[in-house]
Amino acid sequence: MGLTTYVEAIREGIREEMSTDERVFVLGEDVAVYGGAFKVTAGMLEEFGENRVIDTPISESGIVATAIGAAMMGMRPVAEMQFADFISCAFDQITNFAAKCRYRWGAGVPIVVRGPSGGGIHGGPFHSQNPEMYFVHTPGLKVVCPATAYDAKGLIKAAIRDPDPVIFFEHKFLYRRVKEELPGADYVVPLGEAEVRRAGSDISVITYGAMVFRALDAAKELEREGIDLEVIDLRSLLPWDRHTVLESVKKTNKVILLHEATRTGGFAGELAAVIAEEAFEHLDGPIRRITAPDTPVPYSPPMEEFFLPQVSDVVRVARELNDY
């Protein structure tokens, strides 16, 4: 079997769920005839027809709300945001309607809202954002950020099968840059489980999304200096895998929290709090954060590079922590 890219993996995952579950359908802007701005849904119109792959007007709030309505009636809609940035236009329907239905009146809303997030492609402030934390702060939602093709497929399938609303942030930088051989058989990656990408003994780097690869590259570089990083890929942010994180911290006793989203109110803050609460006595150094700064995502290449955490940042902080 050949290699499957991240974008193909998501497409495969949705296709498989559509094939085995006729309740599943896709809706969004330019998803049918065009196959999606990033071609995630390419070929689906031809395969499943226009009742299951639906081009909509430019109405993010309408798209999500339509999905919610259909989901409450027993369907399994997968709604695309052309860029994750535009999810802001659907914020109310997601955070107030979808997220609170089960809690308030026991109505499940099994929708998936998915779209490309993240920087590194010179998209500027409105085509590069990492909006996950707006949703992580909303009880009732689940939030997923896959890094590998295997996970992208397994997680989108799990998200579609999940009985609650799942916000699925793909990373557009990874779409065609990561690929791997995938199993032929049906599989899912359960929501809420992290993965140890690289076992190590000196410092835990806890991260997700495109930053997983920055951490792995840094680990390779530091290997030569005898610094052994453990890299944890969270995969899901809500719910998230406390057990795997805490076990890792207890083993290495030093921790770096790495993400592409901006610093204040970023996921690192939550991780740091839980680590401090539950593994304080295991820490042999300060918890260190590597994140984007608290600014919008700038367009111009030198600034965007400065904005995004780099391998060199991980290497530098790891050295400092190692010497601590």
Binding site: E29, D30, V33, Y34, A37, D55, P57, I58, S59, E60, S61, G62, Q82, F83, D85, F86, S88, C89, I121, H122, G123, G124, P125, F126, H127, P293, D294, T295, P296, P298, Y299, S300, P301, P302, M303, E304, E305, F306, F307
Partner: protein
């Protein structure tokens, strides 16, 4: 008018067909080829104090307000000398000094913003108006509807100009709305909705002027829908294979620049000499701007951190 239409076309051609392909412009590029008459006609008679809320195919508004081709190219090339100093790219730019309200990607967001701009004029008894551009696709957003209603209820001096180029990315009009014209919706908000040939710069100019006069006179907002066609893909990476070829051929024959040239010639307002001189001037201006902008500096990496809040 002809000059600004030509300058817009030349500048955008250079951006899309040359600099983008050479890799000197990164990210997305959206041009308004074939739709130049809309922006030029609508902005022609505006006062410099009137605000313009641009959308993503309104390059001419910048040129007509005196933003230089060099500044525009520097913006596209991510240089420090661009209107956003490299913070944002392509037509995501604005300048309060020029009364140009920056486009935001979230389509339709600027409709209620324009209402607020207009409201500020009315509350202070000023005679200014604002012209707000949007595409057919943007009219599906909730903010679009809220904005029109707000502008009407609060009697804001705004002229909403629709560039109906018949596609929103790959999605044709009939899949975006169940009415025939965007302007059909104007009456639902209690404002006049005019429909004009968007490739006829004179028709656009006249219709927008009527609406501007109404707004200046305290008559509240209006809408002018300009029927045109997107003669390109959605953006530079899109080959628009979903658009039937015949549509391009049909609209090619109605090119707004050729049409204006023809009618000016017929009226005896345009000699071959004058035309050649204008063509040469436009190319030379853009040549020079490319040269200058390409030598302009990039921002420093740390500039990323500046300007999030007021810095005095």
């Amino acid at each position: 008018m002809l000059y600004y239409m030509k300058l817009t076309r030349e500048l955008e051609d250079r951006i899309e067909r040359k600099l983008y392909r050479q890799g000197k412009i990164l990210g997305g590029v959206y041009v308004g080829r074939g739709q130049e008459a809309i922006t030029v006609g609508a902005c022609m008679d505006l006062d410099g104090n009137d605000a313009i809320c641009v959308s993503h195919r309104d390059m001419a508004a910048f040129l007509m307000r005196g933003v230089t081709p060099r500044q525009i190219l520097a913006q596209y090339m991510g240089r420090k000398t661009g209107l956003t100093r490299g913070k944002d790219g392509n037509m995501h730019m604005g300048s309060l000094d020029h009364n140009l309200i920056a486009f935001i990607s979230m389509l339709g967001d600027s409709i209620p913003i324009a209402a607020g701009v207009g409201l500020s004029y009315r509350l202070r008894g000023m005679k200014q108006v604002t012209v707000c551009f949007f595409g057919d696709g943007a009219s599906s957003r909730g903010d679009w509807h809220e904005g029109l209603n707000m502008a009407s209820v609060l009697k804001c001096p705004v002229v909403y100009v629709c560039n109906n180029n018949q596609y929103a990315y790959s999605t044709p009009l009939e899949q975006q709305m169940a009415v025939e014209n965007v302007a059909d919706r104007a009456s639902a908000y209690g404002m006049p909705g005019d429909i004009v040939d968007g490739n006829d710069v004179v028709a656009v100019w006249q219709a927008v002027n009527r609406a501007v006069e109404r707004a200046r006179g305290g008559g509240g907002p209006s809408m002018v829908e300009c029927k045109s066609f997107r003669m390109t893909g959605h953006s530079a990476h899109d080959d628009a294979r979903y658009v039937p070829k015949e549509l391009f051929e049909y609209w090619e024959k109605r090119d707004p620049i050729t049409r204006l040239e023809t009618s000016m010639r017929d009226l005896g307002d345009l000699t071959e000499n004058k035309l050649a001189e204008m063509n040469g001037r436009v190319v030379a201006e853009v040549d020079e701007a490319v040269e200058l902008a390409d030598n302009d500096p990039y921002p420093d990496p740390e500039d990323c951190l500046t300007g999030v809040y007021f810095e005095g």
